[in-house]
């Protein structure tokens, strides 16, 4: 079953996600050379349902099966269709946001996935929030990074997806979107410090991005 699901996912990316992102949306990717070839924790800002798809799409198809976006269980597993879509085609790692117990703990689930050799895509803002506005990162990602100091953290900044498909909209409107990938890093030390450093790394990419485009000289 898992084998069939992997094939299905690859077909879904080839025939739906790739044309969608390439032709309809139009992605500009900066820093592709920073993508690690080994397991990683990818940390990005979150504006749209397109985010996880666009990030998975950065990697070669044969690696997609080993990459899991971390997503809210209460949102993505509610209806059977959404559940099938998100667990089979997107291979999400569903984590609880409420009613956390010892056995139903988001951190344990993420940690176990990393131990099994999966890479994780994490959106520490916790929700898509206001379109194109970055909110402060939650602390969970700090726990995770602290627990796995040897796994590199890849900071990523995305812009434009929140215009294409913002929260509360069902129809995708074509806009060019940018993805800026930062150098993989290792964060150590106390948990609040780690969260701050990771957030700063993504913010720094946001600054670099704005300098790339919003310069007045030399038009």
């Amino acid at each position: 079953m898992r084998h069939i699901n992997n094939q299905l996912r690859i077909l879904f990316f080839i025939f739906f996600i790739k044309p969608l992102l390439l032709v309809l949306v139009g992605l500009n990717v900066f820093g592709r050379q920073h993508l690690p070839s080994k397991p990683f924790i990818l940390v990005a800002n979150h504006n749209s349902h397109l985010d996880a798809l666009a990030l998975m799409n950065l990697f070669p198809l044969h690696r997609i099966a080993k990459i899991r976006p971390v997503a809210a269980q209460d949102y993505f597993t509610t209806s059977p269709i959404l559940n099938w879509f998100s667990t089979v085609l997107m291979n999400i790692l569903p984590i609880p946001r409420k009613g956390i117990t010892k056995t139903n703990n988001p951190l344990t689930k993420m940690s176990d996935a990393l131990d099994q050799g999966y890479s994780l895509i994490v959106f520490p803002e916790g929700s898509r929030g206001e379109p194109e506005v970055m909110e402060s990162f939650r602390s969970g990602v700090g726990h995770l990074i602290q627990k796995h100091p040897n796994i590199p953290v890849v900071p990523v900044y995305m812009r434009g997806m929140g215009r294409s498909l913002p929260r509360g909209e069902l129809i995708l409107i074509p806009f060019f979107c940018d993805i800026v990938i930062g150098k993989p890093q290792h964060f150590t030390g106390e948990r609040p410090g780690i969260v701050q450093s990771v957030e700063a790394a993504v913010k720094k990419l946001e600054e670099e991005h704005s300098q790339m485009f919003w310069e007045h000289d030399n038009i």
């Binding site: 500009n28 215009r163 129809i171 409107i173 074509p174 060019f176 485009f213 000289d217 038009i219």
Partner: protein, 322 residues
Amino acid sequence: MNNPVIQMGILVFGLLAVATLVVELLKWRKPEADFEELALRTRSWWWMAGFFFLSLMVHSVLSLMLFGFLSFLALKEYFSLVPLRFEDHRALLWAYIAIPLQYWWIHTDWKAMVVIFIPVYMFLFIPLRLLLKGQPKGMITSMAQIQWGLMLFVYCISHVAFLLILVPTDLTTSMGEHIGSGKALVLYLVVLTEVNDVAQYFWGKLLGGKPIGNVKVAPIISPKKTLAGLAGGVLTTTTLAVGLQFLSGFSLLYSIAAGLLISVAGFIGDLVISAVKRDVGVKDSGTLIPGHGGMLDRVDSLAYTAPLFFHFVNYFFFQSPW
């Protein structure tokens, strides 16, 4: 071989081959200098010219799809650039839907609809769709931004394809003038517009250091554009317009007029997009075509030359009532 479109194809690809050779030669002779941008530009030209000729040769429907796609890319780049509101989401969807419709009217030869669809119907409809969101704050700006994009990148650019319908084959007009087919005229328009872009850039660079090369046409909007570049461009384009008579079939006088029209209009289109980009503060509008900046930088002059050239042909050779 008597087909002027094929003759032109041989000419264009021959020139591109020479250009590629020159760039390779420059790279080889001066390995220390950086010709990467020039090489990228030349490579992009191969792709653009290839697609363009292929669509012209194969079928007019393919040409319509190509220019429709060009409209889509340019409009998308423009919408990504300007500060639209989140309330404009659904209105933008309708702006995109206008693209296939506009090209569909061209395909079905519904000339009156091609001419009024965007300036009248879309113009009246977009504000209605914005109204339904119930957010009046910023609506004037949104209406203006959306309609301007539709006009320039869909309506104006579609006039390239409109030429294919206006002149189905080469013919002798009621005034006794023989003119080339729509395909030949599209080729004439696009080649002259693109050559004009390149010639203005080239003459500007070549005469840049000289005293006459330092007179700036629009110092605030586009400091790199000089009077020398403009004059060199106009001369080059007008000469070529006369040289390509085998393609257009125009007499000498009409060829000169077409050359002047295309070179001056192309220059203005270029300046307008420069001003738009300066307004929002972006250098290159995207990274879509390597070495060329964005799509807007490629189609800006064409958006200005296409409708003007269309009406030039329509007025002087057909004297159509509209």
